[in-house]
């Protein structure tokens, strides 16, 4: 489900959902948080392209705000999608590390 949902947008989508996993954030806070934990600065266009896609898929939702900056939060479907995607990624990471250790030894 997760690959089909994110497709080639898996990168920004994973970063955004991971950032929202610890609470709602607006666009600027998302950019700063993602830059801090992943070392990647999502450009505004890319961020909102992914946000509108995730919003359309029901994986995140906008919260009411008096400010022009509207916060987003993860939905239950979004949390399940992120969990499933990260589990797949972890399997890939574990396999890659095991194979590396087998052929190249541990660093």
């Amino acid at each position: 489900m997760i690959e089909g949902s994110f497709g080639r947008y898996a990168g920004p989508a994973t970063l955004i959902l991971s950032s929202l996993a610890d609470g709602p954030k607006h666009g600027y806070a998302l950019t700063k948080d993602i830059e801090a934990f992943a070392g990647v600065r999502l450009a505004p266009g890319t961020l909102y392209e992914a946000l509108s896609r995730l919003d359309g898929q029901g994986l995140i939702e906008a919260l009411e705000s008096d400010d022009r900056r509207r916060p987003y939060r993860l939905t239950a479907a979004g949390a399940a999608a992120l969990r499933s995607h990260l589990a797949t990624q972890r399997r890939v990471v574990d396999l890659g590390l095991r194979r590396l250790a087998g052929s190249w030894g541990t660093a």
């Binding site: 666009g27 600027y28 450009a43 266009g45 890319t46 961020l47 909102y48 392209e49 509207r70």
Partner: protein
Amino acid sequence: MSGSSDEALRRAERLVRWYPKGWRSHYGDEFAELLAADIFERPRSWRRDADVLKSGLVARLTTVGLSGHALEPLDQVRTSLVTLGCAAAVFLAFGMAMWAQLTIGWQWAEPNTRGTFAAMVVMCASVLVLFVVMALAAVPIAGKVVTLAVHRRAKGLVRPSMLFVAGLGVLVLGARHFANGWPGTGGHPWFHQGLVPGGVAAFTWASTLSVSSYWAHPGALGSFPIGEVTWMAVSPVAMVCLVVGAAKTARRLDLSPRVLGYESCLAHVAALGMAVFLAGSCSWIFDGGSGPQNLFHPGAIDVAEVLAMTAALAVAFRATHRAHRDGLAFLTG
């Protein structure tokens, strides 16, 4: 707020205008805020500006059902089919201009090469198929509009329908007038000399008179009667009114999945018909021969028409694919 942050917000709001209206009404304010903060931190960044241009284009393609971002299935089918209709209209505007020129040539002399002869037969057959498909596609849409009008539930359809009727009316009346005004195309009785009756060829020629290389030669254009030049300027506006009116009407109609499935089948046939027509056009371009006495000699405008038709066909194929993959396939399981 300081002067530089004001300036950043103004620049951000200018950039946000590139996004479609629907997207702006939903995300515009918050996106402008983020963009302004980014511009304040990095006043000059071509990467950011390019990123905004790219994502704005994606948002525009999404609203016409062409991006990788699927809409809700029914909306996806409806949007993609409307986009296909618009692409087909652009294709026909250029294709009919080329076809009219060739069919009028055939009123006077037969094509001078086998390739051109074959190309014209193929083009005539595909034009026939395309117009039959258009008529078949229009039946359920017109039926729905009439039904809603009879039950006085066509409130949102009045303006687009009137735009369509106005565009069609101007185009038909103007093309009839100018078709009859030129003796070379005025429906003379030499029916046997071509695949297409002279009156039809003349009408098509007159309705696509604006697709002309004379725009690049103002001196020659200045020697035309003022009425003809005015028609060359007015007829594209009428075409746009006709297409926009039809597109808005179709988009606002709540068509059932069954009707959308029917329209989608016709869309496949239309895309195939356009591809066949384009193949015929290319065959003529490569085999039309040369020389000022040759009625079938292709020129630079014809190459430009082929390029425009190719672009319209690419959009049509993409729209047909999206309507089927993300809409109908989902609806029918």
